[in-house]
Symmetry: C2
């Protein structure tokens, strides 16, 4: 059998990830390989650490990517922190809260779940009361929940955790690079970012950062693997619980990402190039401008959707400003509409999970996908598609409303 | 602070990985992103499965990459197979055998280690005797041990395992795509490949395959994660031991890589493109021609090294035909020589680990790096460097010997 070179269609990707990669990131991916201990590469590793600190708004020494997709970052942090029997409190307001529970349980945690309606977030005091009641070792929380398009306010919870010596772990996979994430100011002990969303880097890396409080727990569980351990690494594993995974062992990764450069995995060279370029572009744009751009295009999109007569989903005050959720009109098959959009317009939007599947569509305005022509393209395609599916929409108004918004604001001139 | 775009030197990479990526693979990396459930992407996923079956020489349904570096593949297989208390037998003849022990122990296995001198391999009967004695559930073995440049014969062991109902897990990270790996014929139940070696794809993916025997064990431990599980997925976890990791849970990955397409991680789009292209190039070259090319250039290199007066390391009969190990001459600082090679010639070769660090150099002839001009470049640079380090070498003979070898053989005309 003869296989042809890869050939993919050009898409307008307006999901909450993976989104279109920035063309400059794609070019960075094509950079030739250098060896993992080549000084030119370890230099790049150090640069990426420095750049990630800026992205996470932290002074933490530890900021590096896990070589895996976003949930690999969540698993690395939770696996390295959790010892069997540890209490972990997880406020759940969408699918990805469940994922944190899932991972924590697999590592033997006793998980306490807090629930609220999907589409809402938690009043911080509610979480604080639960911490007071249950006295967990760790609070793990999603910052931007793409499944519902909501964003949990974190600072009050973080400050309370710090005061009580509780570890505060935050999944900022969907928000990092598109929405403000202040690791130090919000007292986040460990934070996980994603690449394929607001950073517009392909999936496959999970940048994380953690502070010295977390590093201390991890270091106390350090067991260097056989075959590379030296005399200094000898330890008595009967006196502590080593981290249950080798690949996600942050203690060994700290050795790999520090001057010791102790071999662990072989760093994913090309993906590190891509991550570096994606974060570089974010810092070049500057974080405040980037966050404003994300909120701005989401607003532009929403003007159009409302003008079309569609209803948005979720509490407006706590909207994640890079994902717009739309109520699927009564009687409409949401998946068929999405398929029509993809087939005829090459435009991709998302459905959701669990209780929201078939109830809402989600449109991402993230990273490189977060730009005027994409917003206009998705509105135009959606209107035409809904008409094809016999949905009663206000015709021809969506794009006019969004154009008016763009033209009335500064950004329109850029 | 302003960060510049990425800028790396051009290197001649002659280590046993990561090696130079094929330029066509680098181009494939720069292909635009499509969504993970876009039919054009799921089509590529299916194509990659088909291509991996050919690469692994298997009819197994299950053949797909883990989104992580090679050891992520080892961990996914072992974590999904091992239940706490299971006996795992590991024949160790170099560093990567220790890694298998390490991973197995983290998942609660009772590991039985077999040891032989580094530089040698096991007489299969020795392993068979140990299986008979210990009756393990799993035998986990490295096929090509890059740390010593040796290759373990597997077929007899595999056939015995099959007869006794023991699972035979093989780490073919260093051999896949460069050396014959016959999963079905050798009765391998689960096999893990690497990308950054003989496939000349950057690190970051770990292709694996496993058969129905393995799939059965894994499926019996299936627990679909909260947030996406449906009524059909409900199970009573008190009646079995779920897989201890979410990211490496092969039961959920099987759902992701089958028509159900149940969301797990977001597949690393660009790396899948790269893997597809790398495997495509291997199949286009055809496996027999590719294996012959690897052995051929290693032989060419060795002619030169011997002519220079250097001594090779390890049992010749069981040489891994894509890694050449050289005894570091008495009194020479191996790492300084490597550094000189890199600094002045842009040529990278490797040291080794543990007992062999400082004792041997390792030169890879793998994938795209495995070609005539690279072999000649490394010989020329090494001779000049050794002279600079006051090593008594036969001057000017290495390249002549290797050229003579090339010119005397058919391949020289290609």
């Amino acid at each position: 059998m003869t296989w042809q070179p890869i050939n993919v269609p050009q898409r307008t990707i307006m999901t909450p990830g993976p989104v279109e990669a920035d063309p400059r990131v794609l070019r960075a991916l094509a950079t030739p390989i250098v060896g993992q201990f080549d000084p030119s590469f370890t230099h790049i590793m150090n640069e990426v650490m420095e750049m990630l600190r800026a992205l996470f708004q932290t002074k933490n020494q530890w900021a590096f990517p896990i070589n895996g997709t976003s949930r690999a970052g969540n698993e690395a942090v939770l696996a390295s922190l959790i010892e069997p029997g540890d209490k972990v409190l997880v406020p759940i307001y969408g699918r990805f809260g469940h994922l944190l529970v899932e991972i924590a349980q697999r590592y033997g945690a006793e998980v306490i779940e807090l629930h609220c309606e999907w589409g809402e977030v938690f009043e911080p005091q509610l979480v604080i009361d639960a911490i007071q009641l249950h006295e967990p070792k760790i609070v793990a929380c999603v910052h931007g929940e793409t499944s519902t398009g909501r964003m949990q306010p974190l600072q009050e919870i973080g400050m309370y955790c710090r005061e009580k010596g509780v570890f505060f772990v935050v999944d900022a996979v969907a928000s990092i690079g598109g929405v403000d994430v202040r690791v130090d100011e919000w007292c986040i002990d460990a934070c996980i970012g994603g690449t394929q969303k607001c950073l517009s880097v392909p999936a496959g890396m999970a940048p994380i950062t953690f502070n010295e409080r977390v590093a201390e727990v991890i270091t106390a569980r350090k067991k260097v693997e056989q075959g590379i351990a030296t005399a200094d690494d000898l330890c008595d594993v009967t006196t502590f619980t080593p981290i249950a995974t080798n690949y996600f062992d942050l203690a060994m990764l700290m050795d790999y990402w520090s001057p010791r450069r102790l071999n662990h995995h072989t760093e994913s060279t090309s993906m590190l190039y891509a991550l570096r370029e994606g974060v570089r572009l974010a810092l070049e744009e500057t974080l405040p401008v980037r966050f404003a751009r994300h909120a701005y295009h989401a607003q532009a999109l929403q003007q159009g959707l409302r003008a079309m007569g569609l209803e948005l989903f979720g509490e407006e005050t706590h909207a994640l400003t890079c994902v717009t959720c739309i109520q699927i009109p009564e009687g409409v098959n949401g998946d068929r509409v999405r398929q029509f959009l993809l087939t005829h317009f090459g435009v991709e939007i998302a459905s959701s999970f669990g209780p929201l599947h078939g109830k809402i569509w989600r449109i991402g305005t993230m990273g490189y996908s977060c730009r005027k022509e994409n917003v206009l393209a998705v509105l135009s395609a959606l209107e035409a598609t809904l008409i094809q599916h016999n949905v009663r929409v206000v015709r021809g108004e969506a794009i006019q409303a969004t154009l008016a918004f763009y033209m009335a604001t500064e950004y329109a001139t850029q």
